[in-house]
Symmetry: C2
Subunit: 318 residues, 2 copies
Amino acid sequence: MDLSIGIDIGGTNSPFGIVTREGEVLGKGSVKTRDFKEPEKFADVLSSQIKDALAEIEEPYTIIGIGIGAPNGNHHQGTIEFAPNLPWKGVINLIALFQNHFDVAIHVTNDANAATIGEYVFGKAKNLDNFMVVTLGTGVGSGFFSNGKLIYGHDSFAGELGHTIIVHDGRDCACGRKGCLETYASVTGLLRTAQIMLAKSSSKSMLRDIPTDQLTGKDIGDSASKGDALAVNILDYTAKRLAFSLANAVAITSPEAIFLFGGMARAGDLLLGPLKRYFEDYLLYLYKGKVRIEISALTEQNAAVLGASALVWNETAN
Amino acid sequence: MDLSIGIDIGGTNSPFGIVTREGEVLGKGSVKTRDFKEPEKFADVLSSQIKDALAEIEEPYTIIGIGIGAPNGNHHQGTIEFAPNLPWKGVINLIALFQNHFDVAIHVTNDANAATIGEYVFGKAKNLDNFMVVTLGTGVGSGFFSNGKLIYGHDSFAGELGHTIIVHDGRDCACGRKGCLETYASVTGLLRTAQIMLAKSSSKSMLRDIPTDQLTGKDIGDSASKGDALAVNILDYTAKRLAFSLANAVAITSPEAIFLFGGMARAGDLLLGPLKRYFEDYLLYLYKGKVRIEISALTEQNAAVLGASALVWNETAN
């Protein structure tokens, strides 16, 4: 039995999974990223947990490789480079760290690219040569597939749709610039929109019963589904901004489908409805009616680890 | 000797060239596109001109294929689809038309994609896996290379950077929408900017000596090079708009170089200077200092035909 190990290095937790070629997770575990001041120790402890999990597997197996999704993961170099949300500074050589423990091929990429390859190997994008994935969580990530391959770009940092500027002199972004898609279409962006709309309007809304600093994306989705007009407007505004950005991206890679993933995608048709409408409006005539937008097939719990493991299957398939 | 035939179908003229693998043009000719109401007749006359030109070649040769660059050229289908500037309506099957005359492989793509492949085969992008070409003429076209291949997209219509929207509710575009890059960064867009700036300001300028409807891109370049402040401002404004769009595109495909081509590129450093400055300002920190912008190595006279012929060499190389 061939197995791949998927590791999702996150700011808080770093879960792993032992995954079959069919996407079945045979073992899993997790370490707290912030417990480790040194990446060496992190790799030691995580590797020993992985070995414990492997010991539980009763069938004979071969580990084909390890796939790692990480913020600012550099696929070409196998490194993490200057990731703002991790406890380790500078450039971290993940391949070197994990090859101390596992003598197999190790592949690295960023989390959104891992989700994109996950969609290709295990999700709705099977057999699609041209598609994109947009992850709508705390931030906005993206991955572009073209000619049957992920677009890494020359430095491995392609696919930052969240940091395309969609509003001149728009909202301040954590990247230091203004008006990035991420400041509108992430869950954080949604909450910024909610605060602005709550302050600007004086119309009634269930959202006014919730202290501003406790407001969540789920509250907005729930209120909208109960017909709260302001909550519906907040989602509509967000959908419009996202649609604008997606339509511009289509003019570059012309995908046949766009898969949405992450917290915002949970709003389902409340977001998708207006999103698809605005998207068709914004599209250049050449593309109208040709590009479908769907919610990802991967569940949020497993997606990051599946996506990371899919890196391995994708590399061995080529 | 292996030869490729490059044909550039344009709204006014359709030149062709007989090209060696090294990019030497051994024979050429041209027909007037508008003389032909039927595409069949067009293909007949053009093919017979090509055969006449081939008859002049004294060395023994083999024709490897025909490459055709055409507005709305569909690479997957070998067709022209609903090109607004051609005398033929609907879908034209170019492969069928030319295979009546030449029993060789025939490849079709749009003009900007042909220019991009031309840059890859004969120009400054040799051996680059990730780059983009932007053609700044009457319109704005573009082609993206990623993982060593042109991005055609699922329908073969990828690479329409000129029709990404860069200003919400901006200038009316021929595509029916508003604020497309093309309305600012094409030669036509430059002239619109000139008219607006001449009307808005009352400062002295050499440009005021030229009747508005006779003003050309060259006039603006010439005046700017003589230090005319208004002309410099017009180029600066254009450079800023273009820089914004290029920086956003970099966040999608992360190219190592951008090559500019066409009428606007003739302004040289008057455009490139401010363009590079604004571009670096707009870039996400991940990309700063990593992406060079250069003028294409192909001369305008030969580029379209060379690009079309390069389609053949590029397909046979893979």
